[in-house]
Assembly symmetry: C2
Amino acid sequence: MIRRTTIQKELVFDAVRQLHNHPTADEVYELLHSTHPNISKGTVYRNLNRLAAEGKIRKLEIPDGPDRFDHICTNHYHIHCCKCGRAFDVDMEEVSGLIDKVKDKQGFDFLDYDIIFKGICPDCQKIHAAESEQ
Amino acid sequence: MIRRTTIQKELVFDAVRQLHNHPTADEVYELLHSTHPNISKGTVYRNLNRLAAEGKIRKLEIPDGPDRFDHICTNHYHIHCCKCGRAFDVDMEEVSGLIDKVKDKQGFDFLDYDIIFKGICPDCQKIHAAESEQ
DNA sequence: ATACATGCAAAGAATTTGCAGCTTG
DNA sequence: CAAGCTGCAAATTCTTTGCATGTAT
């Protein structure tokens, strides 16, 4: 199975890099659709998954919401806003050696781990404050 | 809004405790449906979410798969099998003070975090080994 | 040429929701 | 009896997939 270079795939890759705020597949589609009305959502999904499989972008599987895609491939953590669902980068050193701290691995093959922070982003704090004032 | 005690809610709670392996909503429904054929899936979902909101059970939001529910409410981590999608408890001490390690909180209100390990469970290792032998 | 990719629309999986009728407090 | 809850089915949301056609190598 040989991967081909297509215009659509390059467009999807460029869009993820351009929309540096962890866009969803739909946000990528909307951006591309404005300049390339013929692109289909299926193609956007397929290329996002292919690019992630190739390691060119990173798929962030956000609980309770659509997947998001990240142009930065170095390991870093994310915080997920419980209100609006957006994902943001967390400025923190990588926590290493966590797998070694596991006591009983029960025959499991530990491959990786991810730390997902949850919180409320500044924008949603403002919205909440405004609503409380009423 | 006053919460009422209903037969269905108690059944859902009991089922999550009985199925101690982090069942999905569907697994809870299947168990209950066998003894209570009239219970509806909507009710199972509603009660799982209510119980989680009340802190009586815990909702595990598994990337790329249905949510799972945990009867244990003390903080502990999980490992998610990439092959079968099941979730298992990880025997590890709680990592404390992680939120304090974040350098620039950018006005974010950090509430919580979860560490999700990924790996392959013993069952799936066996299946894979058996398939390779062919 | 021939595999792989696309666009489209339909299917799929997981979850939520509208509503009439039933229950709990 | 009034606020909440249930069962049912339809709707929603996000994502994948089947297929005929198009395109890169």
